[in-house]
Every structure is written in structure tokens, then in C-alpha cells.
């Protein structure tokens, strides 16, 4: 008896990332689609996740989870063009879960070593960059998400709104407030 992966069917006929695909796909096809998507987008997604969660292992966890989620949702994802937006949204959501979990861990006094942008980190060259990232890290989660999607991925407001599930106006105002707060933070820095 096949497992759930063996029962995956994409209906109606869909295209693979590289073109038309069969009407009903096998688990192998799904696997290939995922791997193509991973090859194409994983690095960029890990980078976004890194900007959101601050450490590489968590970022890779987030991305791996996002791809696993994609794999599990393939039967619902009828438009292959939606793969990347799906992954963006999944990464943002899972990164949010990381931060939430980290807050709970802090309540339990489980220490967390500083992320890549901490003052102790040698991963980011330049004190000014670290200060900017540290200031960003102090912003509310939603603001950080908007900034990362807008200023790293250069996504249009409409796409950011779709990923975050908010209106364009909220994206715009959130970005504006976040930049203002960031500016204040950096000015106050001695």
C-alpha cells in the first residue's frame, strides 16, 4: 500500500516549474518539482530567513520546513507560479514561529547565543552594518518582515501584502514607521 507521498495527485493538469506536466503526477514528479524549486530558490530563501531569525541553523530549518510544507501542499497548489510566493509566505510564517519559540525559551531561561548581527559576530564586516541590523532586530516582528521583503527581496508592496496577509496600505505604513523608528534608533546610537 503506498504511503501518502505515493498518492499525491495534482489536479487539474499543471505545469512543472519548467513547463507542462502530466495531469496526475507521481511522487517522483513531486519530488523533482520540489528539488528544482530548492535549487532555484533555496539560497535566497535562507538569506531571507537569516535576516528574520538571525542565525543560520534556524534559517536553514525554516527553509527546510517551508519546502516540506510545499511538498505536503502540492495537491492544493495548482498554479506553479505560486510556488515562490508560497515559499516566501512559508518562510515568513515559520520564521515568526522561530521567534515566538525563542521568546518562550527565554522565559524558561534557555540561553540563546547571539545571532549573526550581534556585536560579537565576525560574520558581518563593518560596525555600521551590524548596528543597522541590530537596530532592525529590535523592531517589531511585522516591521522586520516588511523591511526584509521590501529592501532585501525588493518585492512590490502588493506581493508583500499577499505574503503577509495584510493590505497594501498596511505594508506601506508599516515600512514607513519602521524606517522612522530605525532612523531614530541609529541617531540615538552614540
Amino acid at each position: 500500500m503506498p504511503g501518502w507521498a505515493g498518492r499525491i495527485r495534482l489536479e487539474p493538469p499543471v505545469r512543472t516549474l519548467n513547463g507542462p506536466g502530466p495531469a496526475a503526477v507521481s511522487a517522483e514528479w513531486a519530488d523533482r518539482l520540489i528539488r528544482e524549486a530548492h535549487e532555484a530558490h533555496a539560497v535566497r530563501l535562507v538569506r531571507v530567513a537569516l535576516l528574520l531569525v538571525g542565525d543560520r541553523p534556524s534559517a536553514e530549518d525554516v527553509v527546510q520546513d517551508a519546502f516540506f510544507g510545499l511538498y505536503r501542499s502540492l495537491h492544493r497548489l495548482r498554479d506553479p507560479d505560486k510556488v515562490l510566493p508560497y515559499l516566501h509566505a512559508a518562510v515568513v510564517n515559520r520564521a515568526r514561529s522561530v521567534l515566538r519559540s525563542r521568546r518562550r525559551a527565554a522565559l524558561r531561561q534557555i540561553p540563546f547565543e547571539p545571532p549573526v548581527w550581534s556585536a560579537e559576530s565576525a560574520a558581518i564586516a563593518g560596525e555600521e552594518r551590524r548596528e543597522v541590523l541590530a537596530a532592525v532586530a529590535r523592531l517589531p516582528v511585522r516591521a522586520r518582515e516588511v523591511l526584509a521583503l521590501r529592501y532585501y527581496l525588493d518585492l512590490p508592496e502588493s506581493e508583500i501584502a499577499a505574503i503577509l496577509g495584510i493590505s497594501r496600505g498596511t505594508v506601506s505604513s508599516t515600512a514607513s514607521r519602521a524606517l522612522a523608528a530605525l532612523g531614530r534608533e541609529l541617531k540615538e546610537k552614540p
Binding site: 538569506r47 527546510q64 534557555i110 532612523g183
Partner: protein, 491 residues
Amino acid sequence: MTTPEDQFRLEEQLRDAYQAAAGTVQPGTVRGLPDFGRLGAQADLGAPDLAEWTGPGGRAGWDGPDGRDARRRRRLRTARLGRRRTGVPAAPAARIGIPAAAAARIGIPAAAAAAAVVVVVLAVTILVPRLVAGPTGGRPAGPAGAAGGPPRFFAAVKTDAQSTVTGATVLDIISTATGRVVSQVPAPGPGADFRVVTAVKSDQSFVAAAEPVKGARGGCLTSLYRFQLTAQGRPADVTLLTKVHGVVPLNQLAASADGRVIAYVRTGCGANLGRGQLVVAHLDGGQISRQSWSQTAAFVPLSLSLSAKGRLLSIMAARIGTTGRPLTGAWIMRADARPGPLARRVRRVITPSISLLAAAVSQSGRKVVGELYYQSDKAVTFDLEVFATGSGTIPRTQTLWFRSARLLSPPAGTPAASLFQDVQTLIPATTKRRHDFMVVDTGSGMGLDGSGRYALMFNWQAQSAFLDLATGRLTDLPAPASSGRVSSAAW
């Protein structure tokens, strides 16, 4: 007031900082994907386990055969930013002010142990299926529940209602559909009872530990049996696997999915508890090879679980903190680790705390799932989380399930055991939504079926239910499973 120039400069600063941070992730260095097909389709049996245990740079895991554990751990610790590699819980027994004998038997004070028993297995097994089974809780091939529903039968050890004085137990086979006892596994001999049972998940068979009843002759000897269920739920092929000198405590018996590896803790008997030993037995046809590790008062196992192939062992254990308060954490050990002190062969995955109630390794060995609780002045929340076995102590982010319960009285300074009693008391009085509080409401234990989709829940009041992990639906069995207190159950 920010001028447009200021804003432009700030945006450029931000872009530059983002690019610099993102530049630390180079193409070719990103972790690949697991074989989703294998994780899902072949389910619990085909997933790799030890192969996943590699550190940065593809180096071997934490407990290599060359014995350079400490140096390797140090390298790993410095190799990864933002994560803490684990230390080894090796507090000397002398610092822990508890009697070794008592600790070897239960590890923690009786009240805390009771609380642990109530919840120990419950949520753990809720989590594993979500890790490997996919969103619809798909079922792999296998006799257990292969027809699309939960397994037709489960095995339960319960106190014999007729023999409550002697503490004799019986091993019942109970129908999931009716909750009625359909058969009973015959006692392995006069004066011996089954005390602990665990399921072999690849087929509907079980491993059970039988001990002499109180006052019976036979000495301090536990026998491990394996038996299979027929289509009618009758035990068949009851086979003696091995005999163990000592007692196998509750929850401290585990079997791999293929049934070839069995792990158990054995302790002494009566007043001569002594220090326990963790034993991993490899069954190869008629041959049994055993490997054991000695237990110390500072590290007392409370429950065991094995990955699908039996190569990784997760140990939820109690450590006594410097204040004398028992802390529970989860550790991982390779089943082929070198003999020696158990505490020196394990690697911590979940930091010891008062919050951890249960833990188990996923079938693939990639993750340890833990049930934790958080308490505030007004509420206690039970939370199921996933921890990556390969990445140390920082809790992983995937929260699979949680339930909250409101507390009537502030729990400040309340020991965990009292807290659970409070919650248990509270539930019937304050809500009819039993579903929400199933962890504390329904059980002293839980067992997963082979597919990982259905969790059997049972409690001391002999009420049984099963939970569909894909839908979250809890189904009460139509009739009480049996009289007597269920102390161990599996399917």
C-alpha cells in the same frame, strides 16, 4: 522630521546591511533537502537515522567510535554560530544529595514521578506522526490500521481488579471499536505477571515484560516476551525473547519499528535496588547481543524511545539540580555507543528544566519531540515542540500542538506535581470541553499506532480514547476499556 535624503540614505544603509548579512550564505553551502518521498511513503520504517547524524562539514556525529567525543564536541561547538552544542550531564553523584537506591528506581520524588507518569507518554507520541506522516496523517503500509482507521486492538496492562491487594496485573487485548476486552495474554507462568508493554510498530505485535508477583518465588528476574495478534485479536506466537536480571520500570521499555532492537532499563529488586543499567538488546534470529551502560544517581532515565531502525535512543531522564529539585531533560544516545557510564554517552537535546514532561525521538532520528508546559499566574499551557537532534539545545521552532488550562489558584512556587493535580481537579469543574484538556484529563499514557496517525490514550480510571492526529478528533471508546487501573498500554 526625516527628510527624503535621510530616508534615501537610511534605505541604502539598510540594503547594504541586508546584503552583507545575506552574503554570509553562500551558494553550495545550504543544507539540502531530506528525501521527502522516503519520509512519507516508506514512513517510519525506511527513514534514515544514523546517517543524519553528521555535524558541520559532514563530520561524524557526537559519539564516534574513536572515542574523541569531547574534542569533537568542542569542535562542533565552535563551528556553528548562534547555536550551543551540548555538554554532557555528568554531574558527579556525590554532588547530588539523593539516595542512589531511590533514584535508581524512580529517579525523582514520588509526587513528581506520579505527575510524570500521568503525562509522560501522552504528548510525545502525538508529535512524532506530524513529523513524518504529513498533513493528512497518511498511513503507511502495515497491518496496524492499514485499512484506514485506527488499529483494531491494543494491549493494556492493568491491575487485576480481583487482585488489588497483591498488585497482580493482567495483559488485556482490547477492541478499539468496542472498548471491550477481547482476549487476555496468558500469564507467562505461575506467579508472574506482565507489567510493561510496548508495541512493535511494523506489525501488530508487542513486547511485554513479565515479573514475578509479590511474594512469589522466581527471584529478581524479568522475562521479555513477544507476541502477535491474530485477526481476531487473540495473542499468538508468545515467544520468550530474553530474561533480564532485575526489574524493568514503567515506560522504560522500547522496541524499534522492526522489532530487532529492544531497549530497557533494569534495576534491582526490593531493598536491593542498586544502580540501574540501560540495556540495548539486538535480536538477530536466535542470537541476542546486549550492550549496557551504567546509570548514576545524577542521571536517571524515566522513559525510552527508539528510532525506527533502533539506532538512536532517546532518553527522557531526571537530573537533580543543585537545589535538590528534579529537572527533566531529553538526551539522545546512539545504540552502538561504547559501554560505560550512561551520562557520558548521551547528548543533550532538550535542556533539563521543570517544564519538560515527555520526550521521544522521531522515527527518523532527526528530531526529538517534547511536551513542555509553561505556567503563569493564571494558566498553564501544554506545548508540543520539536527539537533538532543535530543542532543542539535551542528549541526548534515547530510547535505542533498546544492546549491551555486556566488555573484557579496562582501556582507560584508550586511544584510540578501539585500543579498537575490542580489542573486535573480544575478541569471537570470549569469546562465541558474535555477535548481541550485531554493531556491532563484523560490519561496516564498514550501509544501511537504504526502509521503514527492515531494515538491511544488511557488513564487510571480505565477510560480510554483515541486521538486522530490528522484531525485532532478525540474519540471516546464506547465502553470502559476494562476495570482496574491501566498502567501501560500500546498499539
